[in-house]
Amino acid sequence: MDGWMDGWMDGWMDGWMGGWVDGLLLTIGITSSFQMQFMLLFSRQGKLRLQKWYVPLSDKEKKKITRELVQTVLARKPKMCSFLEWRDLKIVYKRYASLYFCCAIEDQDNELITLEIIHRYVELLDKYFGSVCELDIIFNFEKAYFILDEFLLGGEAQETSKKNVLKAIEQADLLQENIDYQTRLFAGVMVPSMASESSGLFQS
């Protein structure tokens, strides 16, 4: 009698009790973070254009997440909610022309403000490139990264003043001698299949 009771309780405790105790303790013990987990930019065709990870993950995981997420987001209909529950994260995404901007945040974070972070980033890109289109981002993705780093640092909004962000970028750019951005150069010699990428992000 002793023995079988023992085993039974063990099994129950392992599963069930582990559940509530840790739930409670995680809640009281560990602070929540409002930090963004990652940001992905991808095209309507599912091509990744930019990726920024604010949490350490292995390359394999990153690839898996990207693949799954691109699929899920692309499958959403236009009138649907811009938020997604995905695993235990919230995904906030928005489409600008042919480009999807997609951020992962923690559940308790504010989805709407994340949506506005995306919008502010697009505004910054637009201001910097001058009516930005996907091609600008494709050919000058390192610039897009520089702008992102100036705006969001370590997953937190660093500088929310548009003027200040651009000032910082331009100061660095000034050193770039007198280079005119070759983007313009290539926008002219456009490949036919890239037509959609050249439409301004703010058109829609």
Binding site: M13, G18, W20, L25, I28, P56, D88, F139, G154
Partner: protein, 1129 residues
């Protein structure tokens, strides 16, 4: 000659790329990327792309390793390498070159180098160490842009161990004249705080300076740190509340420069950050909350513009209003705000409205009532995300009246759900509701098991079986329920069992094995036949098969069954699977011997819930010590073995420990429910894919966890409500009309098309969904605890990972534990002689102690209890002090009665502490030995009294008790008191001290020896540990040794939990940290430094406790005492 040729050849690539002409180089560099991108776009198949990129990578690789590549070319190459990596092709060869570029390039090249590094590497990459010097150099650069770049990269990735190298310089930057540098420095410190909080502890006052910075950007940046700090310890920052309120006032009032406006809303990010901080500060604190009412009101009022950003602020504001100490006026406004969200035609706002409702509904269930029609519409929304959030909301407002409808809705959702994660979550919720409202439970669980499949967490079936076996209030109900289960399972098995998930089959097996006898018209052989079919099924896992075999074992008591069972046992007794073989053996033996069968598995036998399990296995002590003395190797727990294994490669320079802990391995007895035990272990391997899936999802999150608002809300008001709720739970009765309502709604679920009839249906659904909410008395919210279960179910894997990572750390650091094992031998020199020894010329002849501390097998070696300097205190008979010091009889009596005057008594300095009774240990003609132990704050003092009963002879004594003691002389008719301060090296249930006393009467005569032993329980070493709930939480996660058990609750009608914990507090001096509803947090420590935490929860009339400690065996030993303490009347 050949030299010249070679040089020309190596220079060729750079010549070909026309790098000698700067203008064209620029062109060519971007052109190359452009070519690559266009090349990829023109491709049609994935295969071609792969070929192209591989080719590209090969050429990049060749160029980066060429010594002639200039930094400028390198910059371009890095951009291309980054691009290739983004497409999913590995370019790890370029990492080192990215670092080189950051190190050696000019500003522009550096910028690309740093970018590539931050994209390529993560925090733990070893190459990152090579970046430290570069960062250091750039931080000290006079070029602002270089400093900015260095700080930017530090904020993204920096090796934790190297923080001290750059910390002083980063700190210095806080005073930099340029605000951008100050801002980045603050963010860098924030980053440091996140990855290594201890490193920046000393600069907290500098954070304050940053908060007061004249530049709003720097101030905003500092709020990130404050949010973090306040989350961890709100108390310490209450004084800043007024400052935060002032800042928010100014921001809301539009005092910031226009630059910070976003769509003409002043600094929304800043506002949201401040609101988050305020809600943390005002939580459970009326006085602090009062400071912020005005500004919250202002925020709610100002944010009227119809833009997403104002809604974002409003949402945060509403959350804040509902988190801090409530003010009715504000609550009203906030509720109106939620209404605007919920009713908005914009789907994003609707979603947020539902989320906000979910957040506040525990505080104010009536709010859900107001929006019931919207909620019902959302329930049928075409977007699954909205549906999902609505179910979450409904889950929170479930009560006994609407549970059926809500569960039905959830099951509907499950039937359509394709997302594994959501399925797992909803299955967990349904199971929880079913557990909570068991009478509506049964058919639900069938649906849960078949829908949830093998994805669900193993605790769900386990919990269900437990519920079924423990039963409810009435025997009759139990019987009916079980009978129903048996019949429905039989018909399921007669159908198509191969379609059922494995977990469900296991449940079916258990139930049939246990309860099929209840169905009288059912022959066991029929059941056996059905079960045999399961065994033959290809899809059955071996785990399921072992459940089947156990069920068969329980069933084979009739004649017909036996032969069938024998046959099956025959087949499986040669199985490759050891578990199956084991079960088959059991089946074989038990089916042969019916007497044994009925003894081991009495038909209809019920669990005896009041069994006491001595999980420390102290009853084996004798056996263990016998085995040890026969030369057996001491048992080592798994972690220790692994530790040793990892250490074994290194030469061990430490002395071999004598210790042998009594460990409590879970004994595998062939028990009735053994598959349960089995399933929890094999569940891990069996569901490998599932777990890994969840695992990868949880690694994303840092350490944040969903806040449960109800717990931390305004508790003073909440508590009584919760208690009401608990009382209400078990009442299963509904008024017939309500029942009718619910039933009708279940049969007619509304359809999305809107017509008048449909509206009516919705009304009906509404009345059944929100039925219980209107009257406060029947409100039965899913309490905070229940909510937490869910979070946990979500994130179960996270815990697993965390714990496994801690064990890894342990293994990596074997020295820590080994050192502690040795160093635990403390010699406390705390005690000094306080009265002058009578014989001041005591001979200081030190002798080596005999190996002494041999006690019972258990205590033996690890009871390395050390003593301090033994204290000598000889008391002359006729001293005034003596009479005063203890309450011995007046002097006249003393002279008459020898016994009374020789009463041992405690030294004065110990009299303030609690002590045990003085127990006589042994005696001889002229010598009495007695002892007691005194519990001081940081040790236990063993006080040994040596009484010389002889009239005239002086004794010369020497006590060996672990340490030697000087030879002393004890005069006739006097008491010598010795004190030994004891500390614990290794926890045990009881400690037995063995000592030796050698004495000679009179002094100088041959010595006589006397052996004595003294037993003291672990509890005398236990001290209450005063910690806050937060500290408790973080400690809990850090501890690796744990044990779990169900204990008896003290029978008291009103508050059994409180009564029980108080009893533990009184008997074992455990500190009760907090009691939250049905859960209690208790903490204690073994003396000063070895904490043990206990988490208790009332479940099914018993107290489920879980103990955790960093010290192996401590939880088990303590549990034993808890068990004992609660049994005693």
């Amino acid at each position: 000659m050949s030299d010249v040729v070679e040089k020309t050849l190596t220079a060729l690539p750079s010549l070909l790329s026309l790098d000698s002409q700067p203008g064209s180089a620029k062109l060519s560099s971007t052109a190359k990327l452009g070519n690559l991108i266009r090349g990829i776009t023109e491709l049609t198949s994935k295969h071609e792309e792969e070929k192209l990129i591989q080719h590209e990578l090969a050429s990049i690789k060749e160029q980066v390793s060429s010594p002639n590549t200039t930094m400028r070319q390198m910059r371009e190459l890095m951009v291309r390498a980054v691009y290739c990596e983004m497409l999913g092709y590995e370019a790890s060869f370029s990492y080192i070159h990215a670092i080189k570029l950051a190190q050696q390039g000019n500003v522009l090249e550096k910028r690309v180098g740093y970018l590539a590094v931050s994209l390529f590497l993560n925090e733990s990459h070893e190459l990152l160490l090579l970046l430290v010097n570069t960062v250091l150099k750039d931080l000290q650069s006079t070029n602002l842009i270089e400093v900015c770049m260095a700080l930017t990269v530090v904020c993204q990735i920096f090796p934790k161990d190297m923080i001290p190298v750059i910390l002083p310089i980063v700190e210095e930057k806080l005073n930099h004249p340029k605000e951008i540098i100050r801002r980045k420095a603050v963010l860098a410190l924030h980053k440091f705080y996140l990855i290594a909080p201890n490193q920046v502890q000393h600069i907290h006052n500098k954070f304050r300076k940053a908060l007061c910075d004249k530049d709003p950007g720097v101030m905003t940046a500092s709020l990130h740190i404050y949010l973090q700090l306040i989350q961890e310890n709100a108390e310490a920052y209450k004084d800043l509340t007024a400052s935060f309120v002032t800042i928010l006032k100014q921001v809301v009032g539009g005092k910031l420069p226009m630059d910070f406006n976003y769509h003409s809303v002043p600094a929304p990010w800043l506002q949201i950050q401040l609101l988050r901080i305020l809600s943390l500060l005002g939580k459970n604190d009326q006085r602090t909350s009062e400071v912020m009412y005005e500004v919250l009101d202002e925020s709610l009022r100002r944010a009227e513009m119809n833009h997403n950003i104002t809604y974002a602020i409003l949402y945060e504001c509403v959350k804040c209003v509902y988190t801090i100490h409530p003010k009715s006026e504000l609550l009203e406004k906030a509720a109106k705000c939620i209404g605007n969200f919920v009713l908005s035609p914009k789907i994003n706002l609707k979603y947020l409205g539902l989320k906000a409702l979910t957040y506040v509904v525990q505080q104010d269930p009536k709010l859900a009532l107001q929006h019931q029609m919207t909620i019902i519409e959302c329930l049928d929304h075409s977007d699954v995300i909205i549906k999902r959030e609505t179910l979450e909301l409904l889950f929170r407002i479930t009560n006994a009246q609407n549970v059926t409808v809500i569960v039905e809705k959830m099951l509907d959702f499950l039937r359509l759900s394709k997302d594994d994660h959501m399925t797992i979550d909803i299955v967990g919720k349904v199971a929880e509701l079913a557990e909570k409202y068991p009478f509506k439970h049964y058919s639900t669980m069938n649906a849960v098991f078949s829908l949830g499949g093998d994805m669900m967490q193993p605790e769900i079936p386990n919990g269900f079986l437990k519920l079924l076996s423990e039963g409810f209030d009435s025997e009759e109900e139990d019987r009916k329920l079980r009978l129903f289960a048996v019949s429905s399972y039989i018909s399921l098995l007669q159908g198509e069992p191969s379609k059922l998930p494995q977990r469900f089959l296991q449940v079916i097996c258990w139930v049939l094995g246990e309860y099929s006898f209840l169905k009288e018209d059912l022959e066991p052989s029929v059941v056996l036949g059905l079960l045999t079919k399961l065994l033959d099924m290809k899809s059955s896992s071996s785990e399921t098969k072992s459940w089947v075999l156990v069920a068969m074992t329980k069933l084979c008591w009739s004649e017909a069954a036996v032969s069938e069972a024998q046959q099956v046992a025959e087949t499986y007794s040669s199985s490759f699977d050891t578990t199956l073989r084991q079960r088959a053996q059991e089946l074989q033996h038990l089916s042969r011997d019916s007497q044994l069968h009925s003894r081991v598995l009495p038909p209809g036998g019920r669990l005896e819930p009041d069994e006491v399990v001595d999980s420390s296995l102290s009853f084996l002590d004798g056996f263990v010590s016998e085995a040890l003395s026969a030369g057996a190797a001491p048992y080592k727990p798994l972690h220790q073995r692994q530790e040793e294994l990892s250490r074994s490669k290194v030469l061990s320079l430490e002395p071999y420990g004598l210790s042998l802990p009594i460990s409590t391995s879970s004994c595998s007895i062939t028990d009735r429910q053994s598959p349960t035990l089995l399933s929890t272990s094999s569940g891990l391997s069996g569901d490998g894919t599932d777990f890994s899936h969840r695992g990868s999802s949880t690694t994303l999150r840092l350490d944040g966890v969903k806040r449960v608002w109800g717990r931390e809300g305004y508790l003073a008001q909440k508590k009584p409500v919760e208690e009401v709720a608990q009382v209400e739970v078990p009442s299963p009765l509904r008024s017939p009309s309500q029942q009718g309502d619910a039933n009708s709604c279940r049969s007619k679920t509304p359809t999305p098309t809107a017509n008048p009839e449909c509206d009516q249906e919705k009304q009906q659904l509404a009345s059944s969904l929100f039925g219980g909410l209107s009257s406060q008395s029947s409100v039965c919210l899913i309490s905070g605890a229940a909510k937490m279960v869910n979070i946990q179910r979500f994130r179960r894997k996270a815990k697993g990972q965390r714990s496994s990572s801690t064990t890894n750390e342990q293994r990596a650091n074997p020295t820590v534990s080994s050192a502690s094992a040795v160093d635990n031998l403390l010699c406390n020199n705390l005690l000094e002689a306080d009265t002058e020894p009578i014989n001041s010329s005591a001979k200081q002849t030190f002798q080596h102690p005999h190996s002494l501390s041999v006690a019972n097998g258990a205590c033996d070696a690890e009871a390395i209890l050390t003593d301090g300097d033994p204290k000598e205190r000889n008391q002359p008979l006729s001293s005034e002090d003596f009479v005063e010091a203890d309450d011995s009889p007046p002097r006249e009596d003393q002279e008459r009665s020898k016994d009374s005057c020789l009463t041992p008594h405690l030294p004065a300095e110990l009299s303030g502490f609690s002590h045990s009774e003085i127990i006589p240990l042994c005696s001889s003609q002229s010598l009495d030995l007695s002892a007691c132990h005194v519990q001081t704050d940081n040790s236990v003092v063993l006080v040994v009294f040596i009484t010389n009963t002889s009239e005239d002879a002086n004794l010369q004594i020497q006590v060996f008790c672990v340490c030697e003691s000087p030879v002393e002389e004890v005069r006739g008719r006097s008491v010598s008191v010795r004190q030994y301060s004891l500390t614990v090296k290794m926890p045990l249930v009881h400690f037995e001290l063995v000592g030796m006393l050698s004495y000679s009467i009179p002094a100088g005569m041959p010595q006589a020896m006397m052996q004595f032993s003294y037993k003291l329980p672990l509890t005398s070493f236990i001290r209450p540990l005063t910690v806050s709930t937060e500290e408790y939480g973080s400690m809990w996660l850090a501890f690796s040794h744990d044990t779990k058990q169900n204990l008896t609750l003290i029978k008291e009608e009103r508050e059994p939990l409180t009564a029980t914990l108080n009893a533990l507090n009184k008997k074992l001096s455990l500190h009760v940290v907090e009691i939250i509803g049905v859960e209690g947090l208790v903490a204690c420590s073994l003396l000063q430094d070895q904490p043990c935490l206990m988490h208790c929860r009332v479940h099914a009339g018993r107290l489920a406790v879980w103990l955790r400690s960093p010290v192996p065996d401590l939880p088990d030993c303590l549990l034993y005492h808890c068990q004992r303490a609660l049994q005693e009347p």
